[in-house]
Symmetry: C2
Subunit: 576 residues, 2 copies
């Protein structure tokens, strides 16, 4: 590819829309352009990288017996009604009516579509197990798209679905798939990916893992043990928590005026008590509009995902005007005195074992001092509903937990029979009995993977793609492209490398050396061949490398050996 | 791939939903499954073929300098408002509001998206010309989806867009692209594809060609000259028409009762006059609700597309209750006596030169005899608005025209500056002046191409894929798979072929020979290797071929030479 014709401006200006280095460089290097919130066009360079990542994924999916299929993006709503998700999922699912007024959806995931396909093809246990996958477009109407390709609305995803006769068989395949994922991320050049236990969320099922690229700019919070291999998304992370018998004796509860103290921070300041002496009360509403009061200590956070699992429903905050229905006031809610029939109360175990707390009095501008949960509301449900914090004890080994952040680049789920059962997908087993197959599903975000590599592999000048997914393998800079000998050598090198089947980008423009290098740095092709009058004086081509830790390396190679040198460097980098 | 694990039932029953042989075999062979009207899932065999067609297309697009990009499927409506198509296009364009109530569309074509991308990247004439393309999903809410993959709503299309500084440059590139298309269809094994001139329709622009796969089941009607290379879609086809001076003298117009004669056929029968002695009058309404009366002789058809070009508007039939606005009555309309200010009248040239016709009298159950258009309404606009019929004279050479049918598998358009101008895409030319680039666009329906190959290459037993896009290159049938020596030879052959990097499907099931052969015929892999006790007695593997004209050929090849034989046959078929 000649730079003179390459579509995609390289720019010096740091785009305002981008916060992270990877996102900035993808914009500045001419890889991607935003069309609308969470919707991007890929320029030629971006398209090449994405296709390379896809081909690595395809390769590894085929290696574990995957059969590639194509499922539709636009589906009749009826399919999603069969699984129950048409109504269970909120606005992320795009719904529209087609020209004949049939309700349709845009696929954000394809369990329904794959079960629709499989149920017409599967009849006998002899066909099991099998896995099908696709690498296709999806649309999810994310409320807050951000970070370039990290959280987008339209995205390309590899989604795979496996079908099994037994749980053992699924367990085994799940493990196989997990290792395939490790190989995929390794091959795309992501070294900082870890596998953590995760929430199954709207997918249903019991076991799930996420593949997290560790980065400070990640939007997921992860809990890791320093001593053992315990790793979990904070949404499902647990800790070993031991509490002594709670105190029950102490001064009686006593009302206190707390004008305007609707936040824990405000309350703590006004009454001059520590945060952990205040009881934080959060009121939420289930899908069925049933109020739930969740209580944690003032320095804890409610783990909303955990709470959803306990109440088996999605949850939304109670609106200010709804507090009357539980005979209370927003900002001043407390379990003492509330009618348990009107509101389900759940207290975190740490809070339940604490004593002498300040809690809401269910009256405007009033709290209660001297609350002893074990004494004042012993009937309230206890559960671990506080988010795990750094320094807590590992639930597995007792070691110290720490917190880090990550971008989810892949996930795997054991779905069980949620979809096959609801959608009537069956097979006949060895003894002629009709059975429902057990499913696993396995996703990788293609764009997110690219975004993660861009975050991991950059310096202050630009990107540094691993050779496995680099848009080109070698970048020729022809300096002083008006000099005849430079042009001759550069063109010859370009053509001979192309002739060898290599992927070459060739800066054939008459830009100043500084400008050519700056753009080459930005683009980040790993091997750079510089053809210049200075080097040609000694009959050499100069080689530099956009490879982490090797950017200072220089090789001077005789013109005649340049092509050979490139091939050798490519195979070196491939096996690095 | 082992048949025992391949997803996709092969069936004997001819599916009711399918009319054409190709569609039936794609369903029966386990290639595709319908999800909703015009929406399909591709099974693994179908996916493999589609990907091979895509890779041939990609190859040829790269060969003419194409740069691959990815443009979004979901776009903000604003982009389509810029080009004016948001309102100009009907229900085919899916419109919906996203969660924040922003109007969005699903891309059915990507002129808007590509101009949006290019206008931020293009600045100088030095960048021109260039071509970008994508191979991606589109959605068009077709009113009548039919014929399997021929007219679907969700489809994968290769769409390419070129940008030029001059019309000459576009002309040259257009020609280059036309030849690339010829190579693509040749390589996919379609021999019956011709290139015809076509209407530019909703795309705008002046020059356009369609690539038509000739088949009786095609939905497009084509006009071809037997003597020269004139080929055109009937919608824009012309003929050489010579008329002598029209007669003006004859009996005066005279009313006649024609109760219930609202059709030309009824009228001709009732009055016992030939069809071509009746004047067919069709009243249509433009986008601006302006009535247009189109007249042709009774044995002609109005060419609606041609008429649209003349009036520069979409057209819909006038509704029965609207005829009052032109002081006439549905079924009895005639130009004589109509107020030209209320209705624009256009007469086909053949009709304008005819004499003594019957035409509507603008009164219920009344017509007029003895109409001489040249005498009775000489003021009416004349144009060639009748569809060309077989036997007419070629506009180019005067030869005889014939009619045939085809499926449109590709199209190319010279768009001009319709999109770049309306969307403000400019560049600076050599002399520093801001200019608007000229565009071409080039589409190929991937699924349609596959459907066309399936229609062209089949016999009564099933499909016969060309080696270039066959889902597998060789199909091994192991007959009596319970016999040890059969299994040993078949497995060894399978593994050695896989080891050579060949694409092999292996029937490892213990099905009867007849059943194995029937499924192999249906699937249509070109080379078949049969490992059976009978052949093994002589130390041979038997080879047969699913290749048109060669299905009776049999080769008996010693087991040791079988792999070599396959390789040789593949390269033979590749160069056929």
């Amino acid at each position: 590819m000649r730079m003179s014709s390459l579509l995609g401006k390289r720019t010096k200006e740091v785009p305002k829309e981008a916060v992270t280095a990877g996102h900035q460089f993808l914009l500045r290097g001419g890889y991607i352009r935003q069309v609308a919130a969470g919707i991007y066009s890929l320029l030629p360079l971006g398209t090449r990288i994405v296709h390379k990542v896809q081909s690595i994924i395809r390769d590894e999916m085929n290696a574990i017996g995957g059969q590639e299929v194509e499922l539709p993006l636009v589906m009749p709503a009826g399919l999603w009604e069969e699984s129950g998700r048409y109504h269970a999922i909120g606005d992320e699912l795009v719904r529209f009516a087609d020209r004949t007024d049939h309700p349709m959806v845009l696929g954000m995931t394809h369990e329904e579509a794959v079960v629709h396909l499989v149920r017409s093809e599967l009849s006998s246990y002899r066909q099991l197990p099998f896995m099908v996958y696709q690498i296709r477009l999806k649309f999810r109407d994310e409320p807050r798209s951000r970070g370039g390709l990290v959280r987008v609305r339209e995205f390309t995803m590899k989604d795979a679905y496996s079908f099994h006769g037994t749980q053992d068989d699924l367990d085994q395949y799940y493990e196989q798939c997990l290792h395939a994922y490790e190989r995929i991320f390794l091959r795309t050049g992501l070294s900082d990916v870890i596998c953590v236990q995760s929430d199954t969320g709207m997918m249903g099922g019991k076991v799930a893992h996420e593949f997290m690229f560790l980065t400070e700019v990640g939007e997921d919070t992860l809990i890791l043990c320093d001593a053992c291999d315990y790793r979990a998304n904070r949404e499902i992370a647990a800790s070993k928590r031991e509490f002594s018998e709670p105190e029950k004796d102490g001064p009686s509860a006593e009302p206190v005026d707390t004008p305007g103290a609707t936040t824990i921070e405000g309350l703590s300041k006004q009454l001059k008590v520590k945060l952990e002496q205040c009881l934080k009360s959060v009121v939420l509403m289930t899908d069925k509009e049933e109020p739930v009061l969740a209580m944690v200590l003032g320095d804890d956070e409610v783990n909303l995902q955990g709470l959803k699992r306990i109440v088996r429903s999605d949850l939304r905050p109670m609106r200010v005007e709804e507090f009357g229905t539980i005979d209370s006031v927003a900002g001043f809610v407390g379990a003492k005195g509330l009618d348990r029939k009107k509101v389900r109360c759940i207290i975190d175990r740490r809070a339940a074992h604490a004593s002498d707390l300040v809690a809401g009095a269910n009256q405007l501008d009033k709290h209660l001092l001297h609350i002893y949960p074990a004494r004042d509301f012993p009937d309230v449900e206890q559960a671990d509903i506080a988010m795990v914090k750094p320094g807590e004890a590992c639930p597995k080994c007792g070691g110290k937990l720490r917190v880090t952040r990550g971008i989810e680049v892949g996930n795997i789920f054991q779905l069980g029979t949620k979809y096959t059962e609801s959608m009537g997908c069956t097979y006949t087993d060895e003894s002629g009995v009709s059975k429902v197959p057990i499913m696993g599903c396995y996703g990788i975000g293609v764009g997110r993977t690219v975004a993660a590599v861009a975050e991991e592999r950059n310096d202050k000048f630009g990107l540094m793609w691993p050779i496995s997914i680099a848009p080109y393998q070698v970048h020729i800079c022809a300096l002083n492209a008006d000099k005849e000998d430079v042009v001759e050598v550069a063109e010859k090198l370009y053509n001979s490398l192309l002739g060898e089947g290599l992927e070459v980008i060739y800066d054939d423009r008459s830009e100043a050396p500084g400008a050519q290098f700056a753009e080459a740095d930005l683009i980040g092709v790993p091997i750079r061949a510089i053809v210049s009058p200075r080097n040609l004086k000694d009959g050499n081509v100069e080689f530099k490398y956009r490879v982490p830790g090797r950017t200072k390396e220089v090789d001077l190679v005789p013109v005649a050996d340049a092509a050979q040198h490139v091939k050798q460097k490519i195979s070196e980098l491939m096996t690095d």
